[in-house]
Amino acid sequence: MNTDTAIAVADLAKNYRTRWGKSTHALAGVSLEVQRGSIFGLLGRNGAGKTTLLKILLSLVRPTGGAARVFGHDPFDARTRRRVGFLPEQIRLPEYLKAESFLRYMGRLGYVDRAVLARRIPELLELVGLRGERKLLRAYSRGMQQRLGLAQALVNDPDLLLLDEPTEGLDPIGRKQVRDLLVELRGRGKTIFLNSHLLSEVELVCDQVMILDRGLAKKSGSPGEFMRHTGEYRVKLAEVTEAIVAAVAAVVADAKWSGAEFRFALSGGRAQLNALIDSLRALPVEIEAVEPVRSTLEEFFIEVVAGNAGGMA
């Protein structure tokens, strides 16, 4: 493992034993590396093993096999955890505290100096939009709890931030704020490990993505690699007439029309595309757009977990 690696996981396995002695695997030999200063997204269905992996990195769960290292150290070493911030999916807040005293408590548990906390807590409350909130935590909405959860994950100014569904319960503005914050933190050299169902968000912020399915790493790469060209093109026209449909059919046999636009698979290469444009230009029609069709991360994800994308890449 080189010094640029924040998280290194090799052949990680976790088996759970049910009350009746039956063994089920949550992780079955997962390996991954997360570079410092990057945002890593872990995707997967419910029960794919995402939270188990996250919990092993936090020493909350003991692995059955394999090894996990955080900044080159065992996560079970308490000193390693002092460099990590964590936002759990399900957060239980001490209801009788206020935001400020809660953050002070969390900060002290992270061995943050009192003087540093006195300066940092108002900044964090400002950052998550809870400055001046005087209510007890029991009166907090789900969104407010999530914002405070994010603040407590940042209270020790961690080098590594592990976030389990960080935008859960937030409104669209809150989600955008969190996304912007993650990008800003990456800019400050922080490493972020994101666990999310919200593929559109992962697509927007992550540098690296891994798809986990039934405890196995199915695909790993950058979101750009996953959102690849499908080999299809979309042509959008101002209007559609019978003459246009006939002209298109003469060049591409499998055009799928939808209103004034159609999609087709390019079987004859660039020459076929140019021939199509030429035949359209010969007609009295305005071409509004011609663009390659790319799959979204969501489409790719569904393809992978449905078993169509083959083994680990």
Binding site: L58, A78, Y111
Partner: protein, 267 residues
């Protein structure tokens, strides 16, 4: 650990039972002494009045008051303490809390010991306010020193620590305050039965059962005997080391086992 300790005390104030314990520890002796009146006689002796009753032997009066306080502490107070301890020993283990707390830089053993000591401190404070406050009041009014009474209070404190250790161990398997309180009550009842096992042996004839009961008696804390010894010590300064050290060993071993379980536990 100190952060966890202070937080436990703070949490106890916010939870009703912890608050009830502290309020009662101030309220009960206040009521008790509101009905007492002391008068210095011409010969220098002090006479106490409780309602219509006149107590001329002040030493006997104060010793009776201390005796009642000891019984109260070793009885109702211990049970109130269990009710206060239950929720405090499980709140950091309930769903959603370990993820938040154990992912911080504080090792798990410090959480466990911080909680244990925090709850014990709550009980010590409550007993200190009630019994210590009463002792100082009586000392100031009558001149009868509370030395032996204060030492005798260590017996119910040891007994409470044993209940706490047991509750702490159970909390790792079942994070439910009700279950913890039930286990502590069972131990209280069991220790009384085991302390009087000779009576049990009149109906149990099997040698193996008697041996098993004897071993149970040796292993489990001697809460019943400790509570009785508090009064014995106060009255006559006689005590037996066996229940003290064997309960101390029980607490040490159970805490050690609990820390090991917590260290190995997955959340």
């Amino acid at each position: 650990m100190l952060t966890v300790f202070w937080h436990t005390l703070r949490e106890s104030i916010h939870r009703r039972m912890g608050l009830v314990l502290l309020v009662c520890s101030v309220f009960l002796p206040s009521v008790l002494f509101a009905v007492s009146r002391f008068e210095r006689q011409a010969n220098g002796s002090i006479v106490a009045y409780t309602g219509p009753f006149r107590h001329t032997d002040i030493q006997v009066f104060v010793n009776d008051a201390f005796g009642s306080l000891l019984q109260f502490t070793a009885g109702i107070w211990l049970f109130l303490g269990m009710f206060a301890a239950g929720p405090l020993l499980v709140s950091y283990l309930e769903k959603g809390a370990p993820d938040l707390l154990f992912s911080k830089g504080v090792p798990r053993w410090q959480f466990f010991l911080g909680r244990f000591l925090g709850v014990l401190a709550l009980f010590v404070i409550a007993v200190g306010v009630m019994d210590g406050g009463s002792a100082l009041y009586l000392w100031a009014r009558t001149g009868v020193g509370p030395g032996r009474f204060l030492v005798a209070l260590l017996f119910p404190l040891l007994s409470f620590a044993a209940y706490l250790a047991l509750m702490g161990l159970v909390s790792l398997a079942q994070a439910n305050a009700g279950v913890l309180i039930m286990v502590a009550f069972l131990q209280a009842a069991f220790s009384a039965v085991l302390a009087n096992r000779s009576q049990l042996f009149t109906v149990i004839q099997w040698a193996w059962a008697r041996t098993a009961i004897d071993w149970l008696y040796r292993i489990l804390p001697k809460n019943s005997e400790l509570d009785r010894m508090a009064n014995m010590y106060f009255r006559s300064v006689t005590y037996d080391w066996w229940p003290i050290w064997s309960t101390g060993v029980f607490i040490g071993v159970v805490l050690g086992v609990s820390l090991w379980f917590l260290h190995r536990k997955s959340f």
